[in-house]
Structure formats: structure tokens, C-alpha cells
Assembly symmetry: C2
Homo-oligomer: 225 residues x 2
Amino acid sequence: MRLNDSDKSSSATRGAIRAVAEEMYAENGIDGVTTRALAERAGVNMAAVNYHYGNKDNLTMAVFRDVAHRTVQRRLKNLARIDATAQAEGREPTLPEIVEAFVDAYVNEDTPRTGVLLAHLVLQHRVRPSAWTRAIVREELDDFAITYMGFMRRAAPHLTEPEIHWRYHLMVGAVMMSLSDQARDGRMANLSKGLVHPEDRREFKDQLVAFLVDSLGHRRAPGGG
Amino acid sequence: MRLNDSDKSSSATRGAIRAVAEEMYAENGIDGVTTRALAERAGVNMAAVNYHYGNKDNLTMAVFRDVAHRTVQRRLKNLARIDATAQAEGREPTLPEIVEAFVDAYVNEDTPRTGVLLAHLVLQHRVRPSAWTRAIVREELDDFAITYMGFMRRAAPHLTEPEIHWRYHLMVGAVMMSLSDQARDGRMANLSKGLVHPEDRREFKDQLVAFLVDSLGHRRAPGGG
DNA sequence: TCGACTTTCAAACATACGTTTCAAACATGC
DNA sequence: GCATGTTTGAAACGTATGTTTGAAAGTCGA
């Protein structure tokens, strides 16, 4: 028996566990997945999870670290492209451009579960922060946040430095909550009696971008009152 | 032994349980409070929880239903006052007015834990919906949402009907997440290296209102692109 | 075919939690 | 003061979960 998992990467069992974990986390949330249910659905013995991943937290962390990493990479690529275009045209990136670069990872066709999974991670970290959620947020997401705020600064130069921070976090909050509502066919569809369709990627993207661009586009008098 | 709790309302034990539950839910989150820890901190036997409340879910539901109810009542009162003033002046309520009516329940001095608790409820409902979270959301919050959207419609007549729904939910999402960050001395304070102070009620309110008013104040071209 | 290593499996294990039990303490009306 | 109903208390219970165990099965090179 080996505890080091560096050599077990090609096992079919290991892969099945990983794939099913991602599915189930997206469907049931992080606390809603038990080792037993996971093993059964993957057609695998329960002990295999511990054999291949050491323990359940390790598996969970692997899944979500990967999701976070892929999301950030995609966004950084988007931002780099936008930056290049803007520079070539002798201007700064625009707000709609950078907002779209942010939400793209969620509304994109080829990464269907990404948004829901990342929302689960972030909400879990808020509802019940743990060692592994903290680790992922710090190691995979924090740097990107700083980078993104740099772009916000350039695209919305009227915002003060505190406003940049506040609005970045408010923006992330709005997006995460809307993703979690989209996930479990939710409150919004319900209250609107079918008027809005959160599961429609196009509508989702349009409404999200519109809201976010507006929310970043103007400045109030500071200190107000 | 009585299972009906209508007569046990005046017990000191019952009150202690309830008070400590509210404290602990605000501090540790909903899943972070065990019957044992609660009983110990309240200086009460574990069985008292079940004796006075039937079971733990009942207690939790009582706490959060009350928080939700009080929040909604306060907001309705705010909106009624705003409406009266506006009508007297022959105009519609303004966006800053109705946004402030919304966030007031959280930034107010005399209800310090309200915001954090309600955020825990809403996030819990998203992360892990259960019978009792669903019941509270439906019975205490949904009606208010409809009412509030009515005010949004009047204060922001340029928004289409779907936009009203989308932006209400995006707005709620942003607020809930910012409250949960304020709660556990959080990511925002951290990333900004002390530049912003989410625990400062005044700053919190100003930034929140500014963000929300902007996010509701303008309309993008629908369908975009 | 053998032997060493890896992987799978059913079962047992440890633990944390909400809940129940039942007797003791308490309160209250007569 | 006693009988009756209420509240408290320590301990036991049931259950769900992640984890460990030890043997069986599989893999593969010599």
C-alpha cells in the first residue's frame, strides 16, 4: 500500500472517483456527497477513495482546486487578449470587455459545470470556512482578484481605491449567488413565474453583464450625507 | 411531558437556549452549532433543547424565522414611510430611498446580528436547501420580494420586467455575500490590506448603497451583440 | 510458474451527532 | 403535606459518517 498518490494517477478507479465527485458536487453541493454514495455511483468500493486520495478532504480539495485553477486560467487568458487588443488600438480595456472576461468562464458552452462548482466552493467557504477552502481561496483565487482589480482600475478610473475593492467583492457576490440559484432550479425562476430563465446561458450572460457594467460604471459622492 | 410548546414560552431555560442559539448561529454558522455546545454555553442540559423545542430543527427554524420576519417588517415600515413622503410630494420614491430601505435592516445600530444571521439563512438555503429553509424563504421572504420589486419598478421605470427580477436577485446576492464576509473577518479586509473596513457600519452602508443604486440606475441595450 | 507489488473488497471500527429514557428535583393547588 | 403536573439531569441509544483492516484478487516481469 502506498500513501503517496503520485503513481496512482492513471488508475481507472481513481479517474472514475474524480469524475463522479465533480458531477455529484455540482448536483448535491459539498456537504451533500457522502463517500458511500460517491463510491456506489462510481461503481467502486468505498475504500478506494481513501486508497487513491488518502482521505475525503483531499479528494474534495483536488476537485475544487482544479476548478478554481481552470477558471482563473481562462480569465487570465481573456484579460491578456483584451489587453493586447486595447493596447493595439491605443486605449484602455473597456468595462464591458473586462466584465465579460470575468463571467465568460461561467456562461461558456464547453465548461458547463464550472460556474456551479466554483459557486459551491465560494459559498461553502463563507458558510463554513475550513482549512482546505481557505487554502484554495488563498492559493488559487486571491492573486487573480488583485490582478482583476488592476483591470478594474484602468477600465473605471473614476472609482476610488476603496470603491474598487468593495465593488469587486460585491460583484463576485452577486455572480456567485446567481450561479447557485441557477444551479438548483430556483427562486428566481419561481418568483418570476417563468418570466426569466436563469438556465438560459445567453440570457444569463446578458443580464449579468448588464448589471455588472452598470454597477461599476458610475460613482456616487463619497461619504454621502 | 408536553410536546406542545405554547405553554413553555416563559421558561428561563427556554429563553437561554434561544438567546444562545442566536449568538452561536451568528458566530459559527448554522452547521457549526451542535446541541451539546449550545447546551453547555447556555448552562443547560442537552435534553432541554428537545424538551422545549421538540427537536433541533424546530429551534433553528424558530430563530431564523424570527430574524427573517423582523427584517421584513422593518423594511416594509421603511418603504411605507418613503412611499408616504413621496406621495405627499407628488413624486415616486427614488432609487437611493428604496435601496436604503433595503439595507437599513443590516447596518442599523440596534439590530447588530440581523444581517449576519439572515445571510447565514440565505446562504444555507443555497448551499443545502432543506424543508425548513424552504419554508422560511417561502413564508417570510417571498412576498416581500414581490413587494420590493414593485417599488423597484416605480423607482427605475426604465428597467424591463425581466431586468427587475434579475437585478433584484443579483442585488440580494451581492448584499448577502458582503454580509457573510463582514461576519468572519474576511477576505475583503484581507485583500485590501486594511484599506477597507467592512465592519465599519457607516462605510458598509455607503459603499453598499452606492453600488446598488448604480447597478439599478441604468439600462443596457437588451440582447447585446 | 513464481513472487513481489498493487489494487479491490466486505467488513469492522471510531466518532460525532441528535434524540430518547427515566428517575430525580421542582412547583403548585388543595 | 401531599398529589399532580412540569422541568431538569446523567446516561444510554440509534444512526450516519469517514476511516481502517486484512484478506483476496489482480498485474506483471523474470
